[in-house]
């Protein structure tokens, strides 16, 4: 067995056998699912009851407010607002006084809500919605229009995008492209960070544990570095595949459990009329369906191939840099000063990705997707929008060159760094190693 594959094997096995790997593999999808489901679940649990006293001096909203779960209305007939305010103070939280004044020339009444502490936005928006609907109906009637007629008119325009390409016309999928592009870019981002820093730690451990001298008397430093990088890459891929599989299983199971409950609860909270409710739901569903059907129009094969290329290229390039950092330091504290310049391009790419998505074939998008340090993330964001093939080729070529360059550079630093014990390394020192080795 060649030496490099021995190193890959060892680096892989020690990590995969670790308890922390197994725990993270199991907990990862659960956490992932929790992040998605928890907010919805918490919203369902919210059961605080709000009571609103309505003091309607305008007389426009008599018996118009409809109580629902979580929001109770009560009309007070008296005209003494001071007295009501005083009684409100005794009642405590979740009690509010809605004071509707006499309408001005425009026909709108001044409205004020009193409560202890700030009134929740939820209550305010519910009140505004009910009052707006009521006022709209009133104005419509005054103009001689039947509100029911207006209600029935709901035009829904859906725009189909079509891509003109050499193979002819085909349906576009901007929404799906955005989701797929951003998702792929984000995965690369997470992977570089998680596993790049693992490589750094592993190199540092061998250096500070004085194991490295024994190793490099058997293998070339470059073989050691590449063996580590590839071994950890395999660990990452393994974890990634397991996560995907488990996440799919967990989210399907959880989805089945919650989906039955969720829409009903929501229907209770909304004050929309039954018909309206259905329409909204239908619209949401059709949007989701649209994204799903658009997925078919996104070129899965091209995307998959590009993902593998940019994923590996980006990861290998950055992990070589992380390995070089690990070789220069002896403790985690020292890592900070060297980490920053390496992480800036990664963070910058994920921030700039949102601008790239808005204009996927613009100048910014082009240059960022050619520059090797940003191209893995940015090009992946662009690929679903089908940039010209030559740009992809240029980007891959630049990435390969960038990868070779960084590995060569990192190899030089690595070779000197791993044998420098007990020395605090600075940037100028690193530059000197590059010149002299």
């Amino acid at each position: 067995m060649s030496k490099i594959s021995l190193i890959i094997q060892r680096e892989y096995l020690i990590r995969v056998r670790k308890k922390s790997f197994i725990i993270m593999t199991i907990i990862g999808p659960v956490l992932f699912a929790a992040v998605m489901i928890l907010p919805a679940w918490l919203a369902m649990q919210d059961s605080s009851e709000n009571h609103v006293l309505v003091l309607d001096q305008s007389g426009m909203f008599q018996d118009k407010f409809k109580s629902r779960k979580g929001l109770e209305f009560e009309y007070v007939r008296g005209q003494n607002e001071e007295q009501e305010k005083a009684s409100l103070r005794e009642k405590g939280e979740h009690h509010f006084l809605l004071l509707i004044g006499k309408p001005d020339e425009s026909g709108l009444p001044p409205v004020r809500v009193f409560g202890q502490g700030n009134t929740p936005l939820e209550v305010i928006s519910a009140l505004e919605k009910q009052m707006n609907t009521e006022l709209k109906n009133r104005f419509l009637q005054q103009s001689g229009i039947d509100p029911k007629l207006v209600e029935s008119i709901r035009p829904e325009v859906e725009i189909q995008t079509t891509v003109l390409s050499d193979e002819g016309e085909k349906e576009g999928g901007s929404l799906a492209a955005t989701i797929v592009g951003y998702g792929a870019g984000f995965l690369i981002y997470i992977f570089i960070f998680l596993y790049g820093s693992q490589i750094m730690m592993s190199v540092m451990e061998e250096k500070s544990g004085r194991i490295v001298e024994l190793l490099v008397s058997s293998v070339k430093p470059f073989e050691l570095m590449m063996g580590k990088i590839l071994g950890v890459a395999l660990v990452g891929l393994t974890q990634f595949v397991l996560w995907m599989a488990l996440s799919f299983a967990v989210s399907t199971a959880a989805g089945n459990l919650f989906m039955d409950k969720l829409p009903k609860e929501k229907a209770g909270q909304e004050v929309l009329k039954a018909g309206e409710m259905e329409k909204v739901q239908q619209k949401a569903e059709s949007k989701g369906m649209a994204a799903l059907s658009e997925l078919k129009n996104v070129n899965i094969i091209t995307i998959s191939i590009c993902f593998i290329i940019f994923f590996l290229g980006g990861y290998l390039m950055y992990s070589a840099l992380f390995a070089a950092i690990g070789s220069a330091i002896e403790s985690q504290q020292e890592a900070q000063q060297f980490m920053l310049p390496v992480t800036i391009p990664i963070i910058l790419s994920i921030i700039l990705a949102q601008f790239v998505i808005k204009d996927p074939n613009g100048n910014l998008a082009f240059w960022l997707s050619v520059f090797p340090l940003t191209s893995p993330i940015i090009m992946m964001v662009r690929v679903p929008f089908e940039p010209p093939l030559w740009q992809i080729i240029v980007s891959v070529a630049a990435l390969v060159l960038g990868f070779l360059g960084t590995v060569w550079l990192a190899g030089k630093i690595f070779r000197v760094g791993i044998l420098m014990y007990g020395k605090k390394v600075t940037w100028t020192e690193l530059a000197r190693w590059l010149r002299h080795s």
Binding site: M1, K3, L6, I7, R10, I14, G209, R210, I211, V212, E213, L214, L215, V216, S217, S218, V219, K220, L419, Y421, R432, H436
Partner: protein, 296 residues
Amino acid sequence: MYGAYTALDKLSFCIPKGSVFGLLGPNGAGKTSLIRIITQITAPDSGEVFFEGNPLSPEHIGRIGYLPEERGLYKKSKVGEQLLYFAQLKGMSRDQAMERAKDWFIRLDIKDWWDKNVEDLSKGMAQKLQFIVSVIHQPEFIILDEPFSGFDPVNSDIIRDEILRLHSEGATILFSTHRMETVEELCTHIMLLNKSRKVLEGSVKEVRNSFKTNQFTAVTRSPVDFSSFAWEPVAETMNVESEQGWKSSFRIPPDRRSNELVLDLIQVAELASFQEDMPGFHEIFKQVVGRQSTNE
């Protein structure tokens, strides 16, 4: 060269096959730098190294064993697993490595360590393991950087005996040390480095002979009356009383022989012992290094 610092300067030497070669010198003399070149960890800026007449190349890695001065093993890994890993990195097959490892574990009586984590071993145990790691692939050429530093006396003896055993089985040994007493015990050849330069090289015998002072010590049963004696003793060594008798040292001029001194001595007193004062390596070392620094 490390930056502007020259670790080794114009060095040429030969390690005879089958020798125990002591690489000596004070701290910072360049011993470890030299060893790192021979183990192919670093490349020299200029110059060549030959292994059995061929330029040193990665093919030779499996035939060289190396115990670095800075010791370390994977703390979280099992003893046996780790041993096999290092042996395989040296080019052994897994089966071969397993067989050799078992031999060593039986010989050093450490069979029950196999599944222990290295971090659970005592310091002495870890050192033994470290030694096995460096020689498990049956290297013909074994390089030991300060092999006895950090070993307790018991382990130190065990390691010394193992080094001698490997040597008697045909291995060539190179070890660096700054402790002179081990030189006399073990080495057949030495090289002394000081300030990046070679100051002495040769077999132990040659080096000793070249530092001979022609001084002899005689022990007599009764004090010698030097007033009428033809030979002048070395100052302050006249009739020093010892367990065996009275000790006196004489320096013999180049034109005369030690037998003449003995003949004269037995005329004046009964001779208990007579021997040449060979310089210790500690003395030689101090003398050479001291001379070099006063020359500058």
